[in-house]
Symmetry: C2
Subunit: 579 residues, 2 copies
């Protein structure tokens, strides 16, 4: 059963205090629905994000810990130091399954230690042990995880922060270990790592030895639904072919062709060097060097969009960098060197940083004249400053908005303080609606309009025109908020949007697991409920429709090659939450 909350009060006199309490009013919620419910009802909206009143909620999804395929996402929620609003960032890797099997609906870090100690938390079937361990200070995630394996064995899953989180940088991520127990899967966006750092927690080590998978209420129906679900994923071209073969970076050529591949800090929509950094080139490089091009990030993944990237000498460098990472450190900075990009991905993972935010930030730094566009070594050097925590590194580690402000740059691609990802809103207007109106700040995963705008999944909406984008983004944002609550990887969306029988299989998985039949309307209602809570928190934190806007340069500067600006009217953006 996943029926308990593990609350850890870091403020307690004499050291952190653990209380295991029934899930209570949060019963039936998981993932994003749970993290947003806790933050929305327990954190004062005007609290300082790094203060004792903020909370860090780490929640497996509704199906995590079961044998359902693709159910390994874990949600991390808090008030964001980057946006000042509510935040949910989710990650793959092993921790979701392990935490769920240990019986916890969520782990909630509360308060703030009065001493300056840094803590590690170990959780297994016998309970929870919290130990101050200042020897972990400023360790990179890779060394940290190695040290934990030395102490606790290699059957563990870790949730941790690198130096960036300890330095409370607004671009700091929380790392989750993958199947190989490497810290490669990150709840990356919105500075969640800084909040973990402010709580004085370096690492949470999980061991589910002796625990079983979570059992469905109706095992027969659940098994059948899972089979149909996996079959559905296999037969869809995106999840059955494109993603496994080339990974998410299969999109580089596609988005570049669509003219929406932001290049040189969102100056152009196509990158001349795209073929050198595309998913095809990346997969070929991986295979040639003895790496892997088709690999899952957690047990139970059947899409296997990840991979393993070796350096020129054939040694492990990093997991296969994602499309958004290759874009942010690549095209956005004018860099066409895949090895340099992979090195920055490694540094991001090791320091504990959001790759999207960091690539966007380096783009802004290049615009400010701190380095030339295209200079890979200069970009790597900037990354290293972040790891060192030099003044320059502190600036960069706090993201694109702070960097733009500090260096007086006007063209800063952020919404609500969070950097725009790898899809230019002038060429893919539906994404612009999501960026502008998401409760999370600019976030492609919040409502991935690339589906209908470019991939022709779930219908087609002309990406260059404003018509239809509001409805498209709204429906995707609702569906996503629900999917982010199930623990399912968002990539199931391609198949469930196109194949009614696969969507039905998902409903059957949920229904048979909980013993309550679930309908499409239930999913929609869940998504709306999550978004409503989040939006309400943001309003109480001081957000208005004025924050639901793209930076003005997207409305003024035309993006080649289509020479379009963002055309969706402000008044229409204000209708996204009218349902």
């Amino acid at each position: 059963m996943m029926d308990r909350l593990l609350r850890i009060n870091m403020s307690a006199e004499g050291g952190p205090m653990v209380s295991t309490v029934p899930v209570g009013v949060y019963a039936g919620l998981g993932g994003r629905a749970l993290t947003s419910a806790v933050i929305s009802s327990e954190v004062p909206p005007l609290a300082h994000p790094l203060g004792e009143d903020n909370k860090l909620v780490i929640a497996p999804g509704m199906l995590s810990g079961s044998v359902a395929a693709m159910s390994g996402r874990i949600s991390v929620g808090c008030k964001s130091p980057l946006t000042g609003g509510i935040k949910e960032a989710n990650a793959g890797g092993q921790p979701s399954q392990v935490l769920a099997r240990l019986g916890y609906a969520a782990l909630i870090l509360e308060g703030k230690p009065k001493d300056g100690d840094l803590y590690k938390i170990f959780i297994n079937k016998d309970g929870v042990k919290i130990t101050p361990d200042n020897s972990l200070r400023m360790l990179g995630n890779y060394d940290l995880v190695e040290k934990m394996k030395g102490e606790y064995g290699d059957k563990i899953a870790c949730i941790s922060i690198g130096p960036a989180g300890e330095m409370k940088m607004s671009a700091a991520s929380i790392a989750c270990t993958d199947i190989e127990v490497r810290p490669t899967r990150h709840a990356a966006r919105g500075g969640v790592g800084a909040v973990m750092g402010s709580k004085g927690v370096k690492v949470i080590v999980l061991d589910d030895t002796g625990m079983a998978s979570r059992a469905p209420k109706d095992p027969e129906k659940f098994k059948a639904a899972n089979k149909a679900f996996v079959e559905g994923l296999k037969k869809h071209s995106v999840t059955g072919e494109g993603l496994p073969t080339y990974g998410t970076n299969v999109l580089a050529n596609v988005i570049n062709e669509a003219g929406g591949y932001p290049t040189h800090n969102f100056l152009w929509g196509r990158f001349p060097g795209v073929s050198l950094i595309s998913g095809e080139t990346q997969a070929e490089t991986e295979i040639a060097r003895g790496g892997v091009a088709t690999h899952g990030c957690h047990r139970g993944c059947t899409i296997r969009c990840s991979g393993i990237y070796m350096d020129k000498e054939g040694h492990y460098l990093t997991k296969q960098p994602e499309y958004e990472t290759v874009w942010s450190h690549g095209a956005n900075c004018g860099i066409d060197d895949l090895d340099a990009i992979a090195m920055m991905d490694r540094l991001d993972d090791d320091f504990g940083l959001d790759t999207i935010e960091m690539g966007a930030t380096i783009g802004v730094a290049m615009e400010a004249g701190l380095a030339r566009f295209g200079d890979a070594q200069a970009a790597i050097n900037l990354m290293k400053e972040v790891g060192k925590g030099s003044p320059l590194g502190r600036i960069l580690g706090n993201g694109a908005a702070v960097t733009g402000k500090v260096f007086g740059v006007e063209r800063v691609p952020v919404v609500k303080g969070q950097a725009l990802p790898a899809y230019d809103p002038r060429a893919i207007q539906g994404m612009g609606v999501t960026y502008a109106t998401s409760t999370m700040g600019a976030d492609h995963t919040a409502g991935y309009a690339v589906t209908a705008n470019v991939l022709k999944v779930g219908g087609y909406v002309d990406p260059l025109k404003p018509e239809g984008q509001i409805e498209l983004s709204r429906n995707l944002q609702i569906a996503t908020a629900a999917i982010d609550s199930t623990g399912m990887c968002l990539f199931i969306a391609f198949a469930i949007l196109d194949q009614p029988e696969t969507f039905q299989a998902l409903l059957d998985l949920l229904g048979s697991f909980y013993g309550n039949p679930m309908t499409g309307d239930d999913v929609t209602a869940l998504g709306k409920k999550v978004l409503t809570m989040e939006r309400d928190f943001n309003e109480r934190a001081g957000f208005t429709n004025k924050q639901d806007r793209l930076p003005e340069f997207f409305k003024k500067e035309k993006l080649p090659p289509h020479d379009t600006t963002f055309q969706v009217a402000d008044a229409d953006l204000d209708k996204v939450y009218n349902w």
Copy 2:
């Protein structure tokens, strides 16, 4: 006549374009009323503060350029890079009188140069000349003004930016020259210097040779009113005695005694070293070294609260540092060395920086561990980083909020991103109301509740209790918005609050000058009109009542010696603008 607007379009093809246009819809407005009217109606509220759509409005007051005593304040308005809201910062010195005599109700810088050139603007009776002059790049205000005197003679008044403005720092000020043609009077708050920098304008040189004082409609009545007005100022103890003898820093002992002198980044309300940096010590030091302790900042000043501060060798170092400057660089950083404080004042004036923001920022940097509290040399070194524009200097030059964010500090004393000045809101609760609710961000001049809370001017309201503070702050904010529009120095407020006949003299000055009798109700109506415009702009820029709040530590941490927290309820703060 002051009936023209001088608009300079810095975006024009082939270089800046000048147009002199009738004052039109803005007729009758001056100072803050005029700057806020222009910004409110002409600048898109969501424009980037450093972008081409922002405007920099420089406006003498309604009585500036006349022979009315104390009428030498000049208002600078824009959308603020520091707060993101509307901004009016005003300064003394000579430019207000000179610009008014040249016949301009306001100078408005618009657009943004397409080339990277830096410009100087010369204005005299014959017109306007704009010249690119890249030899001025990164000059400090002192060297710059010397250079201008070499080129244009010493009968000029200058409005200029230092390196901070060129680097578009959010703490950058705009300097105005004083009677000695030194760049010592600053429109300091809110980053107005960064906006001037973004317009590519380094200096505006004004020469009113050949121009006469602005003539009143009823010269006899005006003369009599001016006489009564000056007499009123002379007989009030604050403007007739305290301010002339010791300058504004006469407050150091007073506010320290009241327990509201913020020390060590707002940790305590009293500073053990206050006697070493008080106004009394300062005046004594000035006189002993051959400086001046009683001096006006502009011709026509009869209060003469300023002075001239010499170094130990008897050479000019800076003008007499103000109370807020001595506090910010002194007590707030634990520094009790008057010479070090004067050196930082000099550096602020030379680099073009807001002394309040910089002292508060160094306090936050000390809290972050970048220097020890009390280490004067370390503080000076931090200031020099700002002048150099090193990464650390760029952080600090962008103010306390950015510095707090970059270094992960929780205790950051700002409202709407602007640093709190020298009065702790827990010991002087009326100031807390002004800080929280002012359209300007935390600003003591916006509604100086120290009057009734501490000085017992204009009545008495217990400073430690919430009762009566809303009404006090509201009335002061209304009156101040009006006074800031007249060109009058705010220090006339002491006498007009306590002496009905002095208030009547001010009304008669305005009435006889414009030929329209003016009543107290008219003044109130003007103040409300200004605040309403400003508040409306801020709302359209995305501000809500959630930004009308003090940082949470003022509500949580008790301030010694009174051990009080800020007690005014949020719901009451929301009533300030209900009139």
